[in-house]
C-alpha cells in the first residue's frame, strides 16, 4: 500500500513537473523497484516458468530458442524502464508475424508476467508502470 501511494505520488509529480532529464523519476523508481537488471532477469525467468506451464500459450514457445528470447525480453523491459540496457532484438511486428496471436494469448502472457512480478514482490504500481508501456504493443503482436 505504501508503495502504491509512493508510485502514485511520483506519477503525479512527474506528470506535473517539467522534467529536464530524459529519465523520469517514476522510471528510476520502477527500475530500482524491479531490482535493476538482475531483478528484471529473474522476473523474466519466472515468467517463462509460468508460460511453459500454460497450455494456452506454451505451444508458441515449444520450438523456440527460449534462452535467447529471455535475454531479449530482459533487455527490452530494462530499456522500457529506461535502465542502462540496449534492446537489439527485432521489432515487435516482425518478431510476431504469422504466429496468429489472438488477444486471449496476449492477455495470457500479461497474466504470466503479473504472476511473476507478484512472486518477485514488484509493487502493484510498478507492475502497472511496465504494463502501460507493454500494452500498446498489442497492435503489432495481435493478428486476429
Amino acid at each position: 500500500m505504501k508503495n502504491i501511494l509512493l508510485v502514485l505520488t511520483l506519477s503525479l509529480l512527474s506528470g506535473c513537473a517539467v522534467s529536464n532529464s530524459q529519465v523520469s523519476s517514476t522510471d528510476r523508481y520502477a527500475y530500482k523497484a524491479f531490482g535493476e537488471k538482475a531483478g528484471i532477469e529473474k522476473v523474466v525467468d519466472d515468467m517463462f516458468v509460468v508460460i511453459l506451464d500454460d497450455p494456452r500459450i506454451n505451444t508458441f514457445f515449444a520450438e523456440t530458442d527460449n534462452e535467447y528470447i529471455k535475454e531479449q525480453l530482459t533487455d527490452q523491459f530494462c530499456n522500457l524502464l529506461n535502465g542502462p540496457c540496449q534492446y537489439t532484438g527485432a521489432d515487435m511486428k516482425s518478431s510476431h508475424v504469422g504466429l496468429n496471436i489472438g488477444r486471449q494469448h496476449f492477455n495470457a502472457l500479461v497474466e504470466a508476467l503479473r504472476l511473476s512480478m507478484d512472486k518477485n514482490n514488484v509493487p502493484f504500481g510498478v507492475q502497472n508502470h511496465l504494463l502501460v508501456k507493454l500494452a500498446p504493443m498489442h497492435r503489432d503482436i495481435i493478428e486476429k
Binding site: 505451444t59 504466429l99 502493484f124 502497472n128 500498446p136
Partner: protein, 301 residues
Amino acid sequence: MILISTIRRLGFIALLSFNAYSQEGPQPEGPPTQLFGSGKLLLTGGIPNLDGAGGGGITTSALVGGYGTDGQIGGYANYTLVGVDDFSLKTQSIGIGLFNRVELSASQSVFDTEKAGAALGLGQGYTFEHDVVGVKVRLFGDAILEQDSWIPQVAIGANRKESDNEAVLSFIGAQDFKDTELYLSATKLFLDVPLLLNMTVRHSRANQNGILGFGGDKEADKQFLFEGFAAFLLSDNLAFGVEYKQNPDNLSFSKQDDWKDVFLLYTPSKHISLAVAYADIGYVALQGKQSGYYAAITINF
C-alpha cells in the same frame, strides 16, 4: 423459473468450458483458441448492474460483460440484494458476451415495499416486479490495452423494461409500465494511476430505474441522463470506487433523487466477483431519504 434454469444452463456451460480448458494439452501446431477460455484480464469483466448489463452496480459501462475476449464467448450470472431504510430490492440477472463485441442480458427485480407498503395503502410487503432485457454493442476502442491513447472504449446499448404493476403505476401517475431506453457509454482504464473511469449518457424516463414505471404527470418525456463510476484499483483483483446515476423527477406524488454509492469489488478469480457498497438512493415514494447496503455475487466465465 426460466431465469433459474437459464442460470443453471449457463453454469453448466461454464463448467464444460472450464473442463475443456483443464484437459487441453499442448498442441503440436498453431495457437490453441478456446471459445470459452475466459481470456480477459482479471477485473475487466466487471459486474452487471441492476438491469443485467455489464458495468458497475448501478451504472452501465462500455465493457462487454463476462470474461470472453476477442474470438471468445463469455457469460455471467448475478444475484444482488439491496437494503435501504424502508425498502429492499432483489435482482437476478444473466448475460452473455459474444466475441468482445455484443452483450445480451436479462434481469428480474423484485422491489419490496415492506412496512412502507401499508403506509402507502398498497399493503405491507407489496412488491413491484420488473424485467429487463438488454443488448449492448461495442462500437470502437479498447478500454484496457490502449494505454498510450486517450480514446475510450465506446458502446451503445438498449434496455427493454417492463413492470408487472400496471394499475398501481398508472395510479401514481406514471405514463407507462414498459419502455425502451438507449444509452451511449465510454470507458477507459488509466493503468498508470490506476483508475478505471466510466461515463454513460442514457435517454430514459425510468422512475427509480423503472421500478415506478416510466414518465409521469410532471414530465412525460425521456431526457438525457448521466451516470458513471470511478474505480481505483488497489491490486489486480480489488477495486474501490464511487458511482453516480442521475434520475429523472417525473412524478408529482413523490420526488426522486439521483443514486450514488461507494463500493468495494473483490474478484478472487475470473469465475467469481463479490461486490459490497453503501448506497444512497435519496428520496423514494414519500418515505424520506433512503440509504443502506448493496451486496452482489457474480459468477463469470
